[in-house]
Amino acid sequence: MGNRVGIEVSLAIAEAAKLANVDVVAAYPITPQTHIVEHLAELVANGELDAQYIPVESEHSAMSACLGASAVGARTFTATAGQGLELMHEVLYVASSMRLPVVMAVANRALSAPLSVWGDHSDVMAVRDTGWIQIFVENGQEAVDNVLCAFRIAEDKRVLLPVMIHVDGFHLSHVIEPILFPEQGEVDQFLPPNQYPLPLDPSKPVTMGDFGPPIIYSEAKWAQEVNLRAAKEVILQVWNEFGRLFKRYYSPVESYHSEDADVLLLTMGSFSETASVTVDKMRAKGKSIGQIRLRLWRPFPFEEIRQAVENAKVLIVLDRALSFGGPGGPVCSEMRSALYAQDKKPKVVSFVGGLGGRDITVAGFEEIVNRGIEISQKGSKREFQIFGVRE
């Protein structure tokens, strides 16, 4: 087992990419992700990482260069955030549809306007349907571990899909945490070399990204969908193996004091740790409350999440993104869809908060829970509740 070091989470993510021995990094700097690619550029320039670092003129080009690199079978990494992720948008679909195992860290950031470099999940939710595997992490250790797992998952021949690791901008990307880095030998054992089955190779030519007329497009899309859903089994296997080797275990849905709880609070990302403190505090006061953390956003873990919430009376979902003119929070919307046809299900209350870097404190989560319980009893005229807005 390696050493525990104090390091900024962004730099730790870059170090994880180095441990994964990436071949190509094509990236464009954007707050709050910049430190990740800056550190990777440094590692390459100093000769500590034998990789091609491609400085590009935009995120659209960054992802496009990643596609080319991945297509020749190179292990490919990039990182972005907010507007950068949106500028990549169309290329994200190409990566997943061409089945190229690119790994990308996203330092989740709010979208303009007004210009905001601070964190929320607006950027993620806009790329929800791009066909990428999407994993949320809560702290620096989880970020490092899941970058390593991401390559293993993405490059598995049963998967061959790109993976996003979502790291909350600033709240997570810019904090200094004690991180346990595995030894290079351990990583090499866990992560075999990338062997893309049909790479671009002049001695054995292939055409990639060709056009698909109506006679074949539907079949191509269905193959992609079946594959993304089936990827869950591989994700579970990889997390289990990671746990066996490194003693840190991950699962698609994580529960905290939820087994006997009447009220459940569902969170994603770094705010989950704050919410856990609220759960401890409220349980100490005798409230029957627990917490569900959704780690695997895509493929959506329907069975696990249904099982996790079926015994609760109330489920309060916090979203850090707004679906304008729609149901409020995208995560809550999906939870309602997942539960609608179930016989046994909790009442679902939707909250949207923590937008554009606005913090939610332990007391804030307590207020969300109390208001949520009240709404579950009395109802509300609103589709969703907005938290922390001066009205």
Partner: protein, 97 residues
């Protein structure tokens, strides 16, 4: 006997629809798109080949008698050959006729 395009299921496809057989775009029958087809009065043809030069599909070649003629497997029926032919060999006719 390989499956035709219309028989392929999603399970038959290569990952990411990767094409492993070079040059198989030849099998793509763009002639399906046509609503008009060229017809020829070769008595007027001087074998100049201007139709071949202008054909955007590149589907015009010389037949055994040396006359220039479109390959209807690929011809999309745009009619540029008929417009450019100065001896008026080519007449476009509707496909349903």
């Amino acid at each position: 006997m390989p499956k035709s395009e219309s028989e392929l299921t999603w399970k038959d496809l290569n990952i990411g629809l990767i094409v492993t057989e070079p040059g198989n775009a030849r099998q793509y029958q763009t002639g399906y798109w046509r609503s008009q087809r060229p017809t020829y009065d070769f008595n007027r043809c001087i074998k100049c080949g201007i139709c071949q030069l202008f054909c955007p599909e590149g589907c015009i070649g010389q037949n055994p008698e040396g006359y220039f003629e479109a390959d209807l497997f690929y011809c999309k029926g745009c009619g540029i050959c008929a417009r450019e032919c100065w001896t008026r060999v080519i007449t476009m006719v509707d496909e349903e006729e």
